[in-house]
Structures are given as C-alpha cells and as structure tokens.
Amino acid sequence: MTMKAQPSKAQPSETQPELVEIAVDGETFSVPKGKNLLEALLDVGEDVSYFCYHPRLSIVAKCRQCLVGLGDGHKLVPACQMTVQEGMKVRSKTEQVREARQAILEFTLLNHPLDCVICDKAGECTLQRQYMDWDGEASLVNHDKVSKPKKVDLGPDIVLDAERCILCDRCVRFMAEVAKAPQLLFAKRGDHTEVSCAPGEQLDHPYALNVADICPVGALTDKSFRFQSRVWDLWSTRTVCQGCAAGCDMELHHKDGDVYRQVPPKRWDLNLNWMCNDGRRTYRQLLEKERVTHPSLGGERTDPDTATTHIAEALQGLIGAEGSPIGVVLGADVSNEDAYAGARIAQVLGARLYLGDRPDDGKGDDILRLNDPNPNRAGVRAMANKDLLNTKALAEALNDGALKALLVVGDGLDLPAPAQRKLNALDLVVLSTPFSSALIKKASVVLPAAAWTEIDGTCTNAAGEVKRMRPAFEPPSHARPHWDWLVRLGVALDADLGFLDAEGAFSEMSANIETFAGASWGDTIPTQRLRFSGRRG
C-alpha cells in the first residue's frame, strides 16, 4: 500500500478525451467532446444559472434556468440537456438570453413565499443568489400565492416547507438514483404539486440528509439545524470525518466553540459530494462524552510536569527489562503524528506495540460508509505493520501477567471486561485520551488529549489516502495533542523524539516510514467565516 498525496476517490479513470472547439459569445474555447454543455460553460467561467442540474444526478432540464442560444436558432435550449459538439456556437450573454432567464426566474418565484427572513437556507440559497444575479425586481403578480403546508415532518432528520419548494426534482432523483430508496415523490398536480413521502413511507434513509444540502432552496432542511443559527454567522473548517475508516472530506461549521453541523465541501470531486447521516452527527460525541481536561495522578488533579515526571520515574526500572514488560497501545482514532510519536516512544522504551481498535459495526454500504468504525486504522497500522499486535494479543498478555506497565494513546481501545480487571495488577497504566471512558478508573495517570476537532494533523483512510485535519477549536484547559504529551514524556525520559510540532512529526514520519513516502502535509485552509467566504448557493 502506497500513500498518495490527497488524491480524489471520486475521480474517474482519466483517459484523455478528444477536445473540440466551441464558440461562446464569439470567444473560442477547447472543451472535451461529448461533455455536458452546462458543465463545459461553467468550466470556462461562464456564469450560467441553474437549479435542477447536479453533476452526480441524471439530467431532467426541469427548471429551464440554464437557457442558452445555439447557432442562429431563435429558440433557446437548456444547456444542461445539450452535449458539446464540434463547432458549436453558444449565445449566453445576449439580451434575449438574459430576458429569458429573468422571465423563468420570475415564473419560479411565482409561488415562492420569499420568507428568507426565517429560512435556514438564506445565505447559501441558490434561488436567493440567482434572484440577485438575474432578476432583482418585485413580482408583477397581484394574486395571492398558492399556500402549502409550512412544516411537514418527512422523517427523523428532515422537515419540508412545501411552499418554498421550486420542484427542481433534485431530492427525488437523489433518493431514487443515489440512495436507491425512492422514498420521495411528487404528489398533486399543477401549481399544487408538492414533494412528499410515498404513502406509508418516511424519509429515513442513512443518506437522507444529503437532500437538505442539494435542495437549492430552503424547502428541505435539517431538523437539528432548524433555527439554530444563520448560515453567515458560522465559521467553516475543512477537516476529515472521523465517523468511519472512509475518511470523507467535510466542512465543520461552528460558532462560539459549538459545532452546528457537518457538511460535505462544495467540491464535486470530493467524496461524491455526499456524506452519510452518521458522519454528519459525529460532532454529537463531543457533547455526549465527558471531556478530560486536566492531568490526574491516582485520581487527583495534578500539573503536566508532575504527571510526565511520575510516568518517567515509574518506567525507568522497566526499560530494557527481560521480556519487554511495557506495552504501548495506539488507538485507531489518533492522527498519524500521534501514532508516530507513540511508536517512537515504544522504540525508546523497548515496548511492545498494540493496536487499540473497535470491531466492525456492520453499518457499511456501497456509497461511502465502511464497516470499520476506526478512522485511522490504516495510518496506525503503517507505523509497525507486522509488529503491531491486536487487542486480543493485549488481552492475552494481560492475562499472562507479561505486562507491568501500559501506555494507552487515544480513545480507541475496546478491551473486554476480564482483561480490563487485569489492569489493576499493573504497576502503571497511563491513559492519554480526550474523553472519559471506563478505562479511566483503571489508569494511574490520565493525560487530557485534544479531540479530533482540535487537531492539526493527518489521518489515513482505508483507501490509503493521507488527509489533513485542521483544528476548529483550541483544546480546553490542559488538553493537548497526544504527540505533545509523548514529546514531554520523551523529555522526562531524556529521549529526544526529534520533533516539536505536528508538521515536524509528519515530515520525520514520511522520511522514516516507507508507506508514507511521498505523502503531503496538505494545504493550509484557514478557518473562515461563511459570511466572507464568497457566494454560496
């Protein structure tokens, strides 16, 4: 397995397509033959409006918003339904096209309630943006708008505002084509048409929340985000989902230290532009689990230096002892840098390395989610490969009494209860973890670690892609990354691990460990406020 420098899983195998020349408003561009005309126009920087088109869904040309002129023909055609042909002459900026798009937009807005004031989509709404771009005028209709139900409970995660719906068909297509569970359909006719669940059905598919993302208006919204915050108040941090081993790219949207939602980045080449419901809810563990914020020694709060000195003193007699009585457990939830620091400490101590992982949860599917719930199993495995023992071996070693001291890095260790009871017999159990767990009562020294929202580092997904995680928050109180604790422990043991920050750890890791050769640290994408991050929608 070779680690690649952040390639994209969704990228189809690239065979060089034949390039043809098309003229857009008199300007000539080279685009691949047979490509969707709307995609080609967007690629060359043309500002074409659209609602129903989505690169991962089939073409229906329902919204008629992407009208362009072709050749000398008077009649306009939707660009999303055309494919690029040699010598195509496209009119996209003429007065006729502008007027047509404006008229279509007015028609789309005919029954839209314009309740942007209370709409959760406002600020990232496609309709709002197109209105500002193409229309910007008051409705000429004197009649009352068709009124529809404002709050339809479609399922456990999604609520529908039928009035706001512009019938673009994206959600219906998503459920039918991507989720392969056609739970949504159109009911009624004419301007009374509504999206609804099939009779007796509810929208409970594990990917259902994607319809809230792809809805170009605020018709389908996430229940847990409903009325929680305006979009533009949130800050966005690009990081990696820690829900399973797939390691999808995602944006963490947060404000004042609280996570409000997790959404896939608006990049069509990354994880197919989808995320599963479970992945979107991983931030809840930050709220549900109790954080460890201070180092403690035998249950008593202490300061960081006392804790590391105590560990070093306790380990001093065991280093180099016969049968290597020290064990280091690398949780499969820690970053590559943490795992590398753990492996280095194990080297210094002459300790045995164990992998602390959780068993498969069987929630995998053929879209994104994998059965393996450990986000960085591949990265931790790469640290020692065959020398890395599993949890079963750890339980056996504890039963045999072969271990005298155990260093547990991360929250990933899932030890069976009988083996947990054996921990009492050890001289020293060190636990470096962000969250409080059952193991904490057995630990003689507890070191508070940074959670995955506070980490600057990399992790490796099951496909072997090294992805960069970026911190959204500062760790609370005395919490700090695992590698930081291990470097401090190294200082207390008079051992220099050779790095003092995460990037240093990464560059040393990629130099020393073969599987990481050529992996890149990744771009620095600063946390930015959605209000100032360009137009969304």
Partner: protein, 229 residues
Amino acid sequence: MAKVVSIKRTLWDALYLPSIIKGLGITLRHFFVNTFTSREIETLRYGEWDLPDYKDNPAKPEGWRGKKKTRDLPDRHRGLHRLMKRPDGSARCTACMMCATVCPANCIHIEAGEREDATSRDIEKYPATFVIDELVCVVCGLCVEACPCDALRMDSQQMMKPVAHRDDAVQQKDQLMSRGATSIAVDGGAGADWRNEYARLGDARQIYRPDRSFSDDPIGYRIRNTDSK
C-alpha cells in the same frame, strides 16, 4: 489658483505666553462670576427629558439652582431600543438575526425558538431570548434600518438611564417589549396587493414616521406624506 495669504507674526504673537494668560483670564472670570453670583443658568440635564413629572411640575428639584430647560427630543432621536408587537401582543420579531448581523458592536444576542402552535399563516420562528447590552451599543441605528419586519425600533424617546451595575444595562426581551407598541406594518413591504396599496397611499415615497402628537394612538406611528409637510 488658490489665493496665498501671508500672515505676519509679530514678536507679541511669537511670545505665546501672553495669549495663554489672556485665555486663562476669560476662563477664570467665568468661574468666579458663576460661583459668586446667583445668575440663573440654562441647563439641559442628561436623561431627564422624558421624566413625566419634569415638564409638568414647576417646582424645582432639591438642590437645583439653574433655570429649568426642557426640550423635545427630535423625531428621529435614537433612544432605548424597543420591540414592536403584533396585534395579538406577541413580538413582531422573527429572529432573522439581521440586526445582530449588522450590529458593529455585537451587542444584540438572539436565540430563536419555534412556535409549536403556529398555523399555516403564522410565522413559526420567534425570539426565545432577545438581549441588547445598552452599554455596548454604539447607538448607530443600523439594527433598526436592517430590521425587515418593523420589529426593532429606537424611537422610544427614552434615554439610557445611568445604572449602578453593568448588568442592569442589559435589556431583556420583556424590558424591550414593555416599551413596544403595536405595529400593523405589512411584513416585507406592502404585500401581494402592493399596486392597490401604493395607489391608496397616493405616493410611493410615503414613509412611516413617528408622530408623538399621537402618543395615545396604540399604533404609535401614523403615515405622513413627506410632500405635504
């Protein structure tokens, strides 16, 4: 071309100190005259414009030496905030956060709630909490301009009272609503029937302005034509 004027500075000017002493003399003269004579000086005291017994009661408050002077606040004076009400008494605010977004001082904090009893014609979002820290407020009035619902106004004609404790200056929703009047302005402008509405008003330039002569009017505002004034 600009005209160049040259000012000749004499030695007297260059000495500098005589002018200082002259100016100080004026200050000192005012000080002693005001201290030792019982001249009635017109004084406008901060924060007392709107005390109800102030204008009506001719008796001077204790320790008052100057001549009492009252003055009406201008129509567009920006005073304490108030939250306007719907005819049913609930707040007009829909917690859209426009005011909190535009506020340069970040002094407005709103938490939205959802009305479970909302019918299809009601607005389901409402402010569960609405807090303005009047000490942090820079009284710029942008929140009022940003409000799309005529829900937040600063035309209460009340000034911020001095407070003994900082927390007392933090206005909660009930305090803001206690100053509020009922507003029947149509959300989002004149509504679907805007052509007829504009025809009825006669002029699209008609604006809503506060009219304090109608203080008994529960609406608090009446429509006044700017042209006829």
